[in-house]
């Protein structure tokens, strides 16, 4: 089937906003995800960016629930919003304090970067919706499957667990080894040498409050 791109966009608009198929949950969660993603990218305060990232990860967990992947949604909330974002907040607080009003958070190539990423997105969509002969396949069966093939009709956490323990056991073990190696590597990388004097961290006295001005006098 070869449709014109304009007709395709009309059809897409009707599918999205027509009265026939209201996918309100999907659009609400997508709005949260995209808005918080943009907030993560353009927020000046890094702590705000980290909180936006947590919101975005929770929204992605909602998308997983829409896709009947409950175990993955739980893992997403636990690992991303619980682990990685907390780790990022710790790293932000350990490094320089960027509260954001005067600090320049984006480099000079921002406009070029915006153009490049939008073109990258267009190329990805074109690769997905055109086959190797140049025909438009965005309205064929693979994109249009409106309902799930009735295989995992139930919440399939049990199936995921059984697959992890039976079919994909080797990958599971390798992932655990990779995690151990990453933990040891992170410890070694962030360890301070004994003979090296650390000048970035000021001496914290027990009574006095550590002023942030001390940090700027040192370098």
């Amino acid at each position: 089937m070869d449709h014109g791109v304009l007709e395709y966009f009309k059809w897409l608009f009707y599918n999205a906003f027509g009265a026939a198929q209201p996918h309100w949950w999907f659009f609400a969660i997508s709005f949260v995800i995209i808005a918080s993603g943009i907030g993560t990218v353009i927020a000046r305060n890094l702590l705000h960016a980290a909180f936006f990232l947590a919101l975005c990860c929770i929204g992605v967990a909602g998308i997983f629930i829409l896709l009947n992947a409950e175990f993955l949604a739980a893992v997403q909330v636990l690992v991303y919003a619980g682990g990685i974002v907390i780790l990022i907040i710790f790293a932000i607080m350990l490094s320089e304090s960027i509260t954001g009003k005067n600090s320049i958070t984006h480099n000079k190539q921002s406009i070029t970067a915006l153009g490049v990423s939008i073109m990258m997105g267009i190329v990805m969509v074109l690769i997905l919706f055109y086959d190797q002969n140049g025909y438009f396949v965005g309205t064929t069966r693979w994109a249009l499957t409106p309902y799930r093939i009735p295989f995992p009709t139930e919440p399939n956490s049990q199936l995921v667990g059984q697959s992890l323990m039976s079919t994909y056991t080797l990958a599971f073990w390798i992932a655990s080894i990779v995690l151990t190696i990453a933990m040891i590597g992170a410890l070694i990388l962030s360890r301070r040498e004994d003979d090296e004097k650390d000048e970035t961290v000021p001496e914290i006295k027990t009574d006095a409050i550590c002023e942030p001005e001390i940090r700027e006098e040192n370098p």
Partner: protein
């Protein structure tokens, strides 16, 4: 299964938009930790598309790839997404340790200042 189950290209567009946002953040941020956060956005976009394709087409493709019945009933995309999350956790740990080490050495984590290998 309800009638309001959106077709798969919605998820593809959502993943593409999220990937584009993350790519823009990776290219335009100055702070190393902000670049890591944009990387997490891109991982999330990949996970969305993986799980969507698993839900819609996972059965047919695993039917072609495997022969045993217990292999047919394998949620391949979700397993892939779990391993992507695992690798993302390891990447975040190592990357943030690198950022802390770079901050300790350069007294800043702006990527403009870390230009030793830049020509």
């Amino acid at each position: 299964m309800s009638l309001s189950d959106p077709p798969i290209f919605y998820y593809i567009y959502l993943g593409t938009i999220l990937f584009v946002i993350g790519l823009f953040g990776c290219l335009s941020r100055r702070n190393a930790i902000a670049i890591l956060m944009s990387l997490e956005l891109m991982f999330n976009a990949c996970n969305i598309v993986l799980v969507a394709f698993c839900q819609r087409h996972g059965v047919t493709y695993t039917l072609q790839a495997f022969s045993r019945a217990q292999d047919i009933e394998s949620p391949v995309g979700q397993i892939y997404a779990i391993f992507v999350i695992t690798i993302a956790a390891a990447e975040a740990a190592v990357g943030l340790a690198l950022a802390i080490a770079a901050y300790r050495h350069y007294k800043s984590i702006n990527m403009d200042n870390i230009n030793l290998l830049k020509w």
